[in-house]
């Protein structure tokens, strides 16, 4: 194993559980409040998102994409205010003006969710430029999917980051999958050949392996901090079957940690994903098999997180809608 302390690993696992239970609550809310509509859930990406959040230091910045909820929660935004935003309520992180697609929280360094493919990578490059100009020790994180590499702006941003030596960590969540319609169509056989061609240091990690991702992002962030130059990390992910759901549903069921040890009980169309690609179940197994934590400890942690999310949901649902006049405020600073 990695030599990391039990506390660090458990802290990561707690973030992962928060991310997962948050998304499951979003599915329930979407089933109940019809209008919140289409959600791009971060289920299956928790190991990556938690690892990125743990590599961040106070003052660092991050920009994210439509698949943003996990990052919002992992970086420490209040889940109640995040639910309230997704429901368009007054206490939402964006006062109801943004919704799921634009969650942000300046207090955690989460500067924006751009719902435009290609939006986050260039904005985060700009954030790195701003930090560098101001002589800050901080770095910038760009979260994006493989789809961003379809966009021309991606190449321009990578080139700028390399030319201007900008402290930005590019986090590419590669969940593209042949068979279904892939989320990107790239002639490049390996994604990393793209940053490589632009002289950007690059790495690859199993994005569903909590320990590997945590170690990788700690190292990568350290590289960016010490060199002031960009680093590109490709995180390989097996796409969660509900990642493009039109109607809210639980295609792989509600997460049950016990299934980590009762594989024979897993069945159905998506059994393979649950058995080998769910980062939460993988981490659960790793904890118990290495003797780092017991099943009961993990179950107790999960119960606490579940209660937290239940309270957050209650807060959000009790929040009123904003007054219609709010639509017209805040157009200008």
């Amino acid at each position: 194993m990695t030599g990391a302390t039990r506390e660090v690993r458990l802290a990561q696992f707690e973030r992962m559980l928060r991310m997962r239970r948050f998304e499951e609550m979003v599915i329930r809310l979407a089933q109940k409040h019809e209008y919140i509509g289409r959600q791009h859930l971060h289920i299956g990406h928790e190991a990556t998102g938690s690892a990125v959040a743990m590599a961040m230091q106070p003052g660092d910045k991050i920009h994210t994409t439509h698949r943003n909820h996990g990052y919002v929660i992992a970086t420490g935004a209040d889940p109640g205010r995040a639910f309230a935003e997704i429901l368009g309520r007054n206490d939402g992180l964006n006062g109801g003006k943004g919704g799921s697609w634009h969650l942000c929280d300046v207090s955690t360094g989460m500067l924006s969710t751009s719902a435009m493919v290609g939006g986050s990578i260039a904005l985060a490059t700009g954030a790195a430029y701003g930090l560098k100009l101001q002589g800050a020790k901080n770095i910038s994180f760009a979260h994006f999917g493989d789809g961003t590499l379809d966009e021309g702006v991606c190449y321009e941003a990578l080139n700028l980051a390399s030319l201007f030596e900008l402290p930005v960590l590019f986090v590419c969540e590669n969940n593209s999958k042949a068979g279904q319609r892939p989320s990107s169509m790239l002639a490049a056989a390996r994604l990393r050949d793209i940053p490589q061609a632009l002289q950007i240091e690059n790495m690859i990690v199993d994005g569903a392996d909590a320990d590997a991702a945590r170690v990788m992002f700690a190292q990568a962030a350290e590289r960016v901090r010490s060199t002031g130059k960009p680093v590109f990390v490709e995180c390989t992910l097996e796409r969660w079957p509900g990642s493009h759901q039109v109607t809210a549903a639980f295609p792989t069921g509600v997460t049950d940690l016990a299934l980590a040890f009762e594989q024979e009980k897993i069945s159905g169309k998506h059994a393979e994903w649950i058995k080998s690609s769910d980062p939460i179940l993988r981490a659960t197994r790793a904890f118990v098999e290495s003797g780092t934590a017991t099943r009961d400890e993990l179950a107790a942690l999960d119960a606490r997180v579940t209660t937290l999310m239940e309270d957050a949901r209650a807060f959000a649902e009790a929040s009123p809608f904003p007054e219609p006049a709010a639509a017209f405020s805040g157009v200008f600073a």
Binding site: K97, M116, E151, P324, A327
Partner: protein
């Protein structure tokens, strides 16, 4: 005559375009949207899969794929699932496609059709609710059509595909399920011809796209109050059918301009300017504008409603124009 929803009708228009012209070709997927009407696309795929290509998320280059191919004589239909995605192709639309014919002194044509789903759609929020056709209309060289129903969608798409100019078809995302009788056979509706969708004598609502549908509903409501509304669907902002618009306002003496682009420099403003110039003396009251107020479209449902032009705002505007 068969009943078709708008998605089916636009697919029918595309099928006829491909049947009639071997140079017609399709770049994009999801032409019938991703809602309950999306199956309409199956017919197209069944007949013409070999003439369709599903591109990566590369809006800028994809636009040029269309414009460049058009310059060699092809007639590409390029689809953007949400109009705002085409912001990535701003230069390609307004600076390349729009200028090709003029700056080559007529040597080269770019008969490309861009097809975009626009509009405030319920939960689209600030980045997915755009209706950029007023912005496009600020660029000479582009034809811009906004069908308000199935019959128009089919005939206008046919005409757009047959046009020698770059044409942008703006389809309101919320109208795809709208159903009416649509001729089965091939037909075109010429670009630049407005249609009086409802005859009336008290006030003219000059509108396009979804606002036509809203205006028809408002007219039914106002009839009960004794206000007889005429509804004119401009169908295209470029070219603009000034004669039909002016004739209607000359007849009623009152005007409401209703449209979902922004108030400032928007389609409604242009319509009011047009009428002021050409029919000033016929106006019995100041024109009234119903348009998108100058604020981004908020996500929260009550806020979104507050910024959406709609039936009740159009009805109120008609009452105001009529001094009620």
């Amino acid at each position: 005559m068969p009943q078709m929803n708008l998605a089916e009708a636009l697919i029918d228009g595309l099928i006829w375009s491909l049947r009639k012209d071997p140079k017609a070709t399709i770049i994009g997927r999801g032409m019938a949207g991703h809602g309950p009407e999306h199956h309409a696309e199956d017919r197209l795929k069944a007949e013409f899969a070999s003439r369709m290509v599903d591109p990566p998320t590369s809006e800028a280059a994809v636009a040029q794929l269309g414009v460049g191919a058009a310059m060699t004589g092809m007639r590409p239909f390029v689809h953007y699932g949400t109009a705002v995605f085409a912001y990535e192709a701003w230069n390609q639309f307004v600076n390349e496609a729009a200028n090709v014919h003029y700056m080559s002194n007529g040597q080269i044509k770019a008969p490309v059709t861009f097809h975009l789903f626009h509009g405030i759609r319920g939960g689209g929020g600030p980045q997915h609710s755009g209706s950029p056709y007023a912005m496009y209309a600020n660029n000479p060289g582009l034809e811009i059509v906004m069908p308000s129903g199935p019959r128009d969608a089919k005939g206008l798409i046919r005409a757009a595909m047959a046009s020698d100019n770059p044409t942008i078809v703006m389809q309101h995302a919320l109208l795809l399920g709208l159903t009416e009788e649509v001729p089965e056979e091939d037909y075109m509706i010429p670009l630049g011809k407005a249609e009086v969708k409802r005859q009336g004598k008290d006030v003219s609502v000059i509108a396009c796209s979804r606002s036509v549908v809203d205006a028809m509903e408002a007219a039914t409501e106002l009839a009960k109050e004794g206000i007889d509304v005429e509804v004119v669907d401009i169908r295209s902002i470029a070219p603009l059918d000034v004669d039909t618009i002016v004739a209607s306002v000359r007849k009623t003496g009152r005007m409401v301009a209703a449209d979902e682009t922004y108030e400032i420099c928007g389609v409604a403003s242009e319509l009011i300017a047009t009428v002021s110039i050409h029919a000033w003396s016929a106006l019995k009251a100041a024109p009234v504008r119903v348009a998108r107020p100058m604020t981004p479209v908020p996500f929260s449902p009550p806020l979104e409603k507050a910024v959406t032009p709609g039936v009740s705002k159009i009805a109120d505007a008609c009452r105001k124009a009529c001094g009620r």
